[in-house]
């Protein structure tokens, strides 16, 4: 956590950071909605959607949930299940081929 600024300016810079993150989230969401109205190749669009989704989730987790500032133990606790779900979901998509 940054410590050099006085409480009031520190608080203000925190709020600024949060507003910037929000702006990024809003812009990405707007782009996503716009993309659904445009005709883009499905595989490219899907790859972008997944990347955007990952970016938005990371922004919320890192800045709104303060993972970036707090103990890395919290990050590890959150990351393990996320990795497991990614693996499980991939497998559930794969077994679509199966039998």
């Amino acid at each position: 956590m940054t410590s050099s600024s006085s409480p009031s300016t520190y608080g203000a810079s925190r709020a600024r950071q949060h507003l910037l993150v929000f702006a990024a989230l809003a812009v990405i969401t707007a782009i996503e909605i716009a993309m659904t109205q445009a005709s883009i190749a499905a595989s490219l669009a899907n790859a972008l959607f997944l990347a955007f989704s990952l970016a938005k989730a990371t922004l919320v987790a890192a800045f709104f949930m303060h993972l970036r500032d707090d103990s890395r133990i919290y990050t590890a606790i959150f990351l393990l299940p996320v990795v497991l779900v990614l693996a499980f979901s991939t497998l559930m998509l794969m077994s679509a081929g199966g039998h």
Partner: protein
């Protein structure tokens, strides 16, 4: 004998050495289990999305739900601005932002209800097809989590209005915030896999 009593501070000293607050840690562990719960439902949705054609998904209203997504993201901003406020000792600011959080959460839920009703009017229901079952179950459980969050926000607001929380002691607000942001993250994922791809 009083010499055996520990202060509340002493008990969690090991946690402080690791920069852990036990209440935040408890919430993160709970959220880890929630990731896995939604993971099971998400895995189910994706499996069926890949194996069963779902013409019903053409009826999904991406623009409306996109706006609703924006509403939920804004509610997360409200939470974090409220936390910023109480970190500066500003209890009124916290109250305002908590109120806005609850309001925006309620608006999101209203949007979801609208979407559900219009899908039902098109014959897409919880029991009409595998798509219907997995769509409504996944979004329904998410909505339930939002509802719980809205109630929690209101309860927290009530505590703030009665004088709770200060610049030195606001872990309860942080813990609520973690839950709310998590529910937002789940929606970010759901919006993508249900409406976008």
């Amino acid at each position: 004998m009083t010499s055996h009593s520990r202060t509340h501070e002493d008990e969690f000293r090991a946690g402080r050495e690791l920069s852990l607050d036990h209440r935040k840690l408890g919430m993160w562990l709970f959220l880890a289990s929630e990731v896995m719960f939604f993971g099971g439902l998400i895995g189910t949705f994706l499996h069926y999305k890949a194996t069963i054609p779902s013409p019903e998904s053409a009826e999904l209203d991406t623009i409306l739900v996109g706006i609703n997504t924006f509403v939920l993201i804004t509610s997360s901003l409200m939470v974090v601005l409220g936390l910023d406020a109480i970190q500066r000792g500003n209890r009124r600011g916290l109250a305002t932002f908590l109120g806005l959080t609850a309001l925006l959460g309620a608006v999101f839920l209203g949007g979801q209800v609208y979407e559900f009703v219009s899908l039902y009017r098109h014959g897409i229901t919880l029991t009409s097809s595998v798509f219907g079952s997995s769509f409504f179950t996944l979004t329904g459980f998410h909505g339930l989590h939002v509802l719980i969050g809205v109630v929690w926000a209101a309860l927290t607001l009530g505590k703030v209005l009665r004088g709770a929380y200060s610049a030195q002691d606001h872990v309860g607000v942080e813990v609520f915030g973690l839950y709310w942001h998590f529910v937002d993250i789940v929606w970010i994922v759901l919006f993508t896999i249900i409406y976008l791809i």
